[in-house]
Symmetry: C2
Subunit: 505 residues, 2 copies
């Protein structure tokens, strides 16, 4: 990585590129910032490290977490309100979630859906309600955060949360290009919108540090230094810079320093997520938050998980097996030291595998098969009796179709019979980082002393967004797009431009 | 809090105080830095926010984690080596612990003990081996990190760790003043040593920000700005500044942003732990690490804990009840959402309370008492059968005197009979923060761009020290004193002094 220390504007010999608003990173946050900055009248330049737009968003599954009564939710008959969405997110994304941001996001969410549609993003009005890794076809709506599972659908929580699906998925099929990824189909219309608005893009430009100039006694950001083909490129931002280069999941040093449970298991779709924006901003005094927070995927077939029981290294259940995979992943990695075994009987295994929409990608032969739970437990090397006690208790309740211990939904609760198998799922997790720069609701990067750093904005996964201790699929594309728009709009109106004009050559 | 933004030296009108090495904070790290800086020939000034020396250290229990074969360990017949200590700490203080620092600390630990003794700190050559909150009298050595409990004393770990007690406690009785606290008795001889070496101290001075001047193109630290009685005081550091003002446990905003599970439950002995050093250094680009890491105390009587079983909100055991209380606290707060109940029978309760060295402070009447576990479980409102299954399994193994599930030592394993009681211990945790500034092994504060910030050193709980995901009592006074010394010695030899001399008025 290049030196992230800020460079003073009076030492810049030549400004090679220039715009009112300069955006680093052409993923979801960058493109949304670009659109709004351009609509606010700014001349906008996006600089992107790779050879093309897309970022992690284009390679992702495309989930965007939206609700509070979006047109899609309503068209499919789901009731939701901003308050209902807010209550769920405050409960599911903590501890430590930013409740003011969640309230703000929930209130603006339905309008944000309309904005995406206006930009040309298509959502097929079809709901998918089965356990699954992604939606199997091009269905536009599904549960993506455990809203319809315990503890959110069980008393007393059920009095507070009315479970609404909020995972919005862009229509995948693309008649023109044949490309099917939902993430790509989210990004393409947005980039086309930006291009129509005159947004310029420069590729193969890797941002390295901020350029600053003194303004009213404090340093203001007036540009970016980047590298291209081995040369430094100075880029002047007449109004403001927006940082949007993604998470730090692939910066091994930062992961070790902040989120050590992710060491060796990054999964942010693209390796460009090196945390450089966070470091560049910290070098000018920016505050960070929740750098330990992580999205954690669990690499198991939800159709098998829901039909079995997941136990830890002591043979104890610890999470409702029919909930959102991200909750299973976080519980496994953070609270169970990555120890997990899936136990299910032959009938449940066959039923799960027979489901048309199961996820064959995650199929593996059972690690252990036995004629009794006692035998299975011994083969697994678990302490004598632990798995037997767990299965016995589970079966006693399952005979009545209930799971009072963890609240798995009755439709998935069946006594575990024989023969019985176990899958060794220790270490079946990976994820990306959720912590980053502290921003206000307009994307202004906050200084550790409080207040904003003049001229500096950020959005997307280089910022701390909606999540702290929890996650729901779609909240990253969600807060990245929503607060990317905010940052772009505010950056375009930065008033300090004229003052700084005189501070740079 | 004052503005933590750095002030440029050329804007300082008058330097009111001046020294070669200026140390912020007169706790354990500050006093050790002061001693070594003075011994290295520097003129040393300590500025302290309160009216006197001591910091959190003087009010603490005084545990210092030392080993590898200290004179005290050897005199009491305990074998230990630096390698043995290193292996344990790497396993117990992670994930994410700094293994190079642990190796360095383990190698220097026995000599550090001798240094403390040479400074006048007394340790009584007596060992205390019972479960307890602190040593009951003035015993000098005890287990303070779970070395003698599972998983470290059970196969296969027992092949790697030879359990040695490493909690060194200064002799509490003080014939001269009658003050008995071990932490005070650690601090007083150290402060007296510093005073004999000519170290000056200024009290009622609250540090606010760093003073910087450009040196070879980067900002170097040349002093501190502080506040006293409403006025700014500029303090010039001819060689370097050492930050040693403690943790951020009492900065509610920082706790919410970095360690939200500690919201509302700080316990760092003194409220001065406001994180100001971390913010001041971040404002000049300092890197931080493991800001989420926390020491977590569990407010239960170890004599009762060892004799009972501790279960979570699902009635499951999750930690060996005879281990170090800090491990119980971390497990409860981080992995069990602060849900814990202690279950024990009448005989065990009476035996625990009858122990001369139990901790009456933590005594409370049982929350629930019942004639059977089934009845108890119902009264506690736990799901039907969960506690019964747990007790049944525990008792089956206990009948043979073993605990294969969690490895509690045989001496504490007895079948749970009736009548039986449960103590509601939900929320019985509190702690302080372990994350902070990233420093090299000489205390040089690291910039996010890599490399040191010239003129800036730090030690103690405002830095990331030995711990990340775990803790052992005494590691804070341990790394604070050990790396405080290193920082003081290195600060006294900072070569940049002359260069900066010309940069300030």
């Amino acid at each position: 990585m290049q030196d992230v220390r800020p460079v003073r504007a009076d030492r810049i010999e030549q400004w090679e590129l220039e715009a009112d608003v300069v955006i680093a990173g052409y993923g979801i946050a960058g493109v949304c910032a670009a659109i709004e900055a351009a609509r606010a009248g700014a001349d906008v330049l996006v600089v992107e490290r790779t050879g093309g737009w897309g970022g992690a968003a284009a390679l992702s599954g495309g989930w965007i977490y939206l609700g509070g009564g979006t047109a899609l939710q309503r068209s499919l008959g789901f009731d939701d309100t901003p308050e209902n969405m807010e209550r769920f997110l405050c409960a599911a994304l903590g501890p430590g979630a930013d409740e003011a941001r969640i309230a703000d996001y929930s209130r603006g969410s339905a309008a944000h859906y309309d904005w995406l549609v206006d930009c040309g993003v298509e959502f097929k009005p079809e709901f998918w309600g089965e356990p699954g890794w992604e939606v199997p076809h091009d269905e536009g709506l599904g549960f993506s955060g455990g809203e319809n599972a315990a503890p959110f659908n069980t008393a007393p929580a059920s009095d507070r949360f009315s479970p609404a699906p909020r995972g919005h998925v862009p229509r995948m099929a693309d008649k023109r290009t044949g490309v099917r990824g939902a993430g790509y189909m989210l990004m393409r219309p947005l980039v086309e919108t930006a291009e129509r608005l005159g947004v310029r893009a420069e590729y193969d430009l890797r941002v390295a540090s901020l350029i600053v100039a003194e303004q009213d006694g404090v340093d203001a950001v007036v540009g970016l230094k980047a590298r291209r083909y081995g040369h430094d490129v100075a880029i002047r931002a007449r109004r403001a810079v927006v940082l949007a280069t993604g998470s730090f999941a692939y910066n091994a040093d930062m992961v070790a320093a902040h989120a050590p449970r992710l060491i060796g298991r990054p999964a942010a779709a693209i390796e460009e997520h090196d945390g450089v924006s966070i470091l560049m901003a910290q070098a000018v005094g920016a505050a960070v938050a929740h750098m330990d927070a992580t999205e954690v995927a669990f690499f198991g077939d939800p159709q098998l998980l829901a039909r079995g029981i997941l136990v830890n290294g002591r043979g104890q259940r610890f999470v409702p097996e029919d909930t959102y995979g991200g909750r299973i992943g976080q519980a496994t990695l953070v609270t169970q030291d990555n120890q997990a075994y899936l136990v299910l009987d032959e009938a449940a295994h066959e039923a799960g595998c027979a489901t048309a929409t199961s996820t064959p990608y995650f199929r593996q032969p059972p690690t252990w098969v036995a004629e009794s739970v006692a035998e299975l437990e011994a083969e697994m090397g678990l302490p004598d009796g632990v798995l037997q006690a767990t299965v016995e208790l589970y079966n006693r309740h399952a005979a009545r179709g209930v799971d009072p211990v963890l609240g798995k939904k009755p439709e998935w609760v069946r006594p575990i019979g024989t023969p019985v198998a176990a899958f060794d799922m220790r270490g079946f997790t990976a994820g990306f980082t959720l912590g980053g720069l502290r921003c206000d609701l307009d994307g202004r990067v906050q200084h550790v002393a409080g207040g904003a750093i003049p001229g500096l904005y950020a959005a997307g996964r280089c910022t701390w967004g909606l999540c702290a201790g929890g996650y729901a699929s779609g909240t990253s594309l969600g807060d990245g797009s929503f607060y990317g728009r905010r940052a772009g709009a505010a950056a375009a109106c930065e008033h300090a431009a004229e003052v700084r004009e005189s501070a740079v050559k």
